[in-house]
């Protein structure tokens, strides 16, 4: 396994109380695999990955393990963790405009991971950076290296981010909603780019998104999260054809289909949960049509259903 997250708990202390963002989550990513993490805003999908990499602010408390390359990222020295970040594990973020440093030239930002993690001279690093830009489809790379991020369009900025992430040829790329801030045509280009780059490198990818369509096109396996828990996980086709959790089913139904033109859109009844409250049992209970009494009592626990598919629903069904 490339990355193994084991029993991750993450809480934030805020003035409103303690927010339980991730509650006992475990997952793993195989080498070369594309794993999708799906959920609403606030489900904890991004927090999970930030926790694993130690990128959360001091108000967060994380327990658990995140094994990578034999190192437990959550219980190791900072210097050991930093040796892996930007080197063997890379991350790209949602809004490339704010995620790139506006005060530094693109070239300087690109060569930084190389100069940090490799014994390489500056001119060699710059050559490599130009090449990385070209690989992501940016022409005139030498001139572009000397420019600042605000001189690029949104799509180009994301390409720069991708180039920066992949310049050290990491084994694992974590992509946190990389296309959400882009418009549709650019989205498609970026997704295609990621797919191509992954194919040529044998790299694992964790793709965080709320968009089931992207999941369908990009991911081998999917993890569905709700209220800081994994509610279902399995191979992508299986999750689309035979979802085994009412929430997954609800997500499917919420996708607008052309055939439904004219009819009111389906929304899952109820509201997302208040994350300051720790519930016992299934957090989806208040909104679930199939809820039973025992749903509120039993602790969340993934059980296998079918081929490599796991669900936390004790009813093991969906509407």
């Amino acid at each position: 396994m490339l990355l193994t997250i084991d029993n991750l708990h993450t809480t934030f202390s805020t003035h409103r109380g303690t927010v339980h963002a991730v509650n006992g989550l475990s997952l793993s990513v195989a080498p070369g695999e594309t794993l999708g993490i799906v959920g609403e805003s606030g489900s904890g999908k991004s927090v999970t990955c930030y926790s694993a990499l130690g990128l959360l602010p001091p108000t967060a408390t994380t327990t658990g393990h995140a094994w990578f390359d034999g190192v437990d990222l959550l219980n190791c020295r900072a210097v050991d963790r930093r040796r892996l970040l930007g080197n063997r594990i890379a991350m790209i973020f949602q809004d490339p405009m704010t995620s790139l440093n506006p005060y530094l030239r693109v070239g300087d930002q690109l060569i930084e991971p190389l100069r940090l993690h490799r014994d390489i001279s500056r001119p060699a690093a710059e050559a490599r950076a130009a090449e990385a830009l070209r690989e992501t489809g940016i022409h005139d790379a030498e001139r572009r290296l000397r420019q600042y991020p605000h001189e690029f369009s949104g799509g180009m900025q994301q390409r720069v981010m991708i180039a920066m992430a992949l310049i050290t040829e990491p084994a694992l790329l974590i992509a946190d909603e990389p296309t959400t801030a882009l418009d549709v045509t650019v989205q498609a280009q970026i997704l295609a780019l990621i797919r191509n780059l992954q194919a040529t490198r044998d790299m694992g990818v964790v793709f965080i998104t709320h968009d089931l369509g992207i999941v369908a096109g990009m991911c081998d396996r999917v993890v569905v999260m709700y209220a800081g828990h994994i509610v279902e996980t399995g191979p992508t086709p299986a999750l689309f054809e035979t979802p085994r959790h009412p929430y997954t089913g609800g997500l499917h139904k919420s996708l607008p289909a052309i055939q439904q033109r004219g009819a009111p859109l389906y929304t899952i009844p109820g509201n997302p949960p208040d994350m300051t409250e720790q519930t016992s049992g299934c957090p989806f209970l208040p909104r679930c049509a199939r809820a039973a009494a025992e749903c509120g009592a039993a602790p969340m626990h993934l059980e296998p259903v079918g081929q490599d598919q796991w669900t936390a629903c004790i009813r093991r069904q969906c509407p």
């Binding site: 930093r82 892996l84 970040l85 890379a90 973020f93 704010t98 995620s99 790139l100 440093n101 991971p113």
Partner: protein, 305 residues
């Protein structure tokens, strides 16, 4: 960049022109003149005195004469200290005031940046409260309290420094600290706020995700953006330093330009007033321009203009 500098300098010319003209008019409107004193001067003597300084000529003539002489670099004789010209007095005192100002702002930057960065790194802890409380003192207690207080302790009680004057190197310390203290305090607070804001930005998270050490995150990624509010503050700060130096010069008996600037107004020393006002206006324009250049150097998004 050159175009930017040139356009700013061109903008400065009408500003200076207006300042000089307004000053010229206002000082003559103010009641009293350079020669009024408790002992009355006879009208004949007064007339002669005024003629000596060309004050008997019609205002537009005086105005043009002043411009003509100024543009050749001659600011005229001081109306109060007749044996000395304005050029001479400025020539002797400006370097002193400049030295004091530069030392003060250096002190302010060193202390302010240091304290602000330290505080910004660990907000809401002791390393935040301590420097920020001291900063509060620097802002709230005025110069004419801090100065004598420092003198009381360091010059009179513990006799470490001399009580007045500008002779030895150590004489510079207390005045620079007194003048720089409120600016250091503001800079500390601005730096802290700037750092906190920058450190919360997404691109800092990206840097950390690249495995960059905390030290490098601060010094390479955060500092440029974090310092922007401080740089912006430095422009108006120079104006404050120039005028604040008067109080410090009085307290420490420093032969600087600040005293002349203020006393010239009280003495209605027209030539001195015009000379010092014009000088200060030029300095403020130049400093603000420098600040703008530095800002553009730090923040590439400003260069779009």
């Amino acid at each position: 960049m050159l175009r930017f500098i040139r356009s700013r300098l061109l903008e400065a010319i009408p500003v200076l022109f207006i300042i000089a003209t307004l000053t010229f008019v206002m000082i003559r409107l103010a009641p009293g003149g350079p020669f009024s004193d408790e002992r009355n001067v006879s009208p004949a003597t007064l007339a002669k005195l005024e003629a000596h300084y060309h004050l008997d000529q019609p205002l537009p003539v005086q105005y043009l004469t002043w411009w003509r002489k100024t543009l050749t670099g001659d600011l005229g004789p001081s109306m109060r200290y007749g044996a000395h010209s304005v050029n001479e007095i400025i020539g002797h005192t400006l370097p002193v005031s400049l030295e004091l100002g530069i030392l003060a702002i250096t002190f302010a930057l060193v202390i302010g940046l240091g304290a602000g960065i330290v505080a910004g790194l660990k907000p809401n802890t002791v390393t935040d409260y301590a420097p920020m409380s001291l900063a509060m003192i620097g802002i709230c207690i005025p110069t004419f309290v801090i100065g004598p207080l420092l003198l009381l302790l360091f010059a009179l009680r513990w006799q470490i420094f001399s009580v007045s004057g500008w002779d030895t190197a150590t004489d510079r310390i207390l005045p620079a600290v007194t003048l720089g203290a409120p600016y250091g305090a503001y800079i500390a607070r601005l730096t802290r706020a700037g750092m906190l804001e920058v450190l919360n930005q997404d691109f800092i998270r990206t840097a950390r995700a690249k495995g960059v050490s905390e030290f490098r995150v601060i010094y390479k990624h955060a500092l440029k953006g974090g310092l922007l509010p401080v740089i912006a503050f430095l422009g108006p700060a120079t104006a404050g330093l120039l005028s604040g130096s008067f109080v410090v010069e009085e307290i420490f008996d420093i032969p600087g330009l600040g005293q002349h600037f203020v006393n010239a107004a009280f003495n209605r020393d027209y030539t001195m007033i015009m000379g010092t006002v014009l000088l200060y206006a030029v300095m403020i324009v130049v400093f603000n321009l420098l600040v703008d250049i530095v800002q553009a150097a730090l923040n590439p998004r400003l260069r779009l203009e």
